[in-house]
């Protein structure tokens, strides 16, 4: 996870963004989990529009990275999978939004470097 301040052009800054969070499906999952204490698999599926397999793979990836905690329980003899954002996960999401805000500011300020004007060739008389 990148927590260092950005340097270079906005394009280089985009390349430095945390790909684990910046991926659209995972970002949608993390945004949803950041807005609640925990949510179940069905809600995440409904709100992100992902298939079961996709959502499961993304959640596994986030769990491996320590951003999300998964809990399984039985309610009325049916299994229920609940996901919650871990403390490092909340910090990572907050840090991501700070980086995005900084990126937006630097992109607004950024001007392309003017190309060097070629010197005219000396005239041969």
């Amino acid at each position: 996870m990148s927590g260092t301040p950005f340097e270079g052009t906005p394009f280089e800054q985009i390349a430095q963004l945390d790909r684990l969070i910046h991926e659209p499906a995972r970002l949608a999952i993390l945004v949803a989990l950041a807005a609640c204490e925990r949510a179940d698999f069905l809600f995440l599926q409904r709100i992100t529009g992902l298939t079961k397999g996709n959502l499961s793979a993304h959640l596994s990836r986030l769990q491996e990275a320590g951003l999300v905690e998964i809990e399984k329980r039985f309610v009325d003899k049916k299994s229920q999978t609940l996901a919650r954002l871990s403390r490092p996960g909340r910090e990572a999401v907050a840090s991501y939004w700070r980086e995005m805000a900084a990126l937006q500011q630097s992109a607004t300020r950024w001007r392309p470097a003017t190309p060097a004007v070629a010197k005219p060739a000396p005239s041969v008389s």
Partner: protein, 225 residues
């Protein structure tokens, strides 16, 4: 997944944060229906000049039926929302803090004491309208001042307008100061806002996930990108 727009992220945040509040069929509509039944019974009570045990029994049966229907609807809606949209445990964030909470309690007690000093039922009704209107407008602001929640703003402005000391509104305020008017007004408010909240929830989720697509599940290697 399609590219996410900032509006999509905003919708996800809004629906997740207010998932329970937007479940209008779960509490608002049943309570509103109960209020409407009470209002209609009060109306019937005002117009029946010869009380009889049969009519009283009928009114009681209607009241029990209304309460039963509301209870059944609340239970049905709970299982409907859980099975269709899943479950969310809300994050308890108290914007007031401990001192803010104490201040709110003191303010509420002062308000109650003030309400007892009001001279007439009309003045009390205007005070209720003022409190209700401020609450509805505050709810609209708390939910992000969104257009989709503008029904709270509409009801709030209407209630605040009724609270204004305008002579032309006296007859309406007088109607609201009776049980019939109060129950019917509160019932209509709860039913309309409940139904609109439910529509907002369903429509927003449909916008975020248009329809269940039969797409093959992604390979784990792709998800690991």
């Amino acid at each position: 997944m399609n590219p996410l727009s900032p509006q999509d992220l905003d919708r996800i945040r809004f629906v997740t944060r207010h998932f329970h509040d937007l479940q209008g069929l779960r509490s608002k509509v049943p309570m509103g229906l109960l209020c409407l039944v009470l209002g209609l019974l009060s109306l019937a009570n005002e117009h029946v000049y010869v009380p009889s045990p049969g009519l009283a029994l009928l009114a009681l049966a209607l009241l029990v039926a209304g309460a039963g229907a509301s209870w059944w609807m609340a239970r049905w809606a709970r299982s409907y929302y859980t099975s269709r949209f899943g479950e969310v445990e809300r994050r308890e964030v108290n914007p007031l803090g401990p001192w803010g909470r104490r201040g709110a309690v003191v303010l509420a007690l002062t308000l109650v004491l003030f309400l007892f000093t009001l001279p007439s039922p009309e003045a009390l009704t205007r005070a209720y309208c003022l409190i209700g209107g401020a609450w509805a407008c505050g709810l609209w602001v708390r939910r992000g001042s969104r257009l989709c929640q503008a029904h709270y703003l509409g009801f709030g402005v209407l209630a605040l307008g009724l609270a204004a000391p305008v002579r032309a509104l006296d007859s309406l305020v007088l109607l609201l100061s009776k049980n019939v008017g109060l129950f019917l007004a509160v019932g209509c408010f709860l039913v309309v806002t409940g139904l609109l909240d439910h529509l907002v929830l369903v429509r927003t989720l449909r916008q975020l996930a248009p329809e269940p697509r039969a797409q093959p599940s992604v390979a784990p290697s792709e998800a690991r990108r």
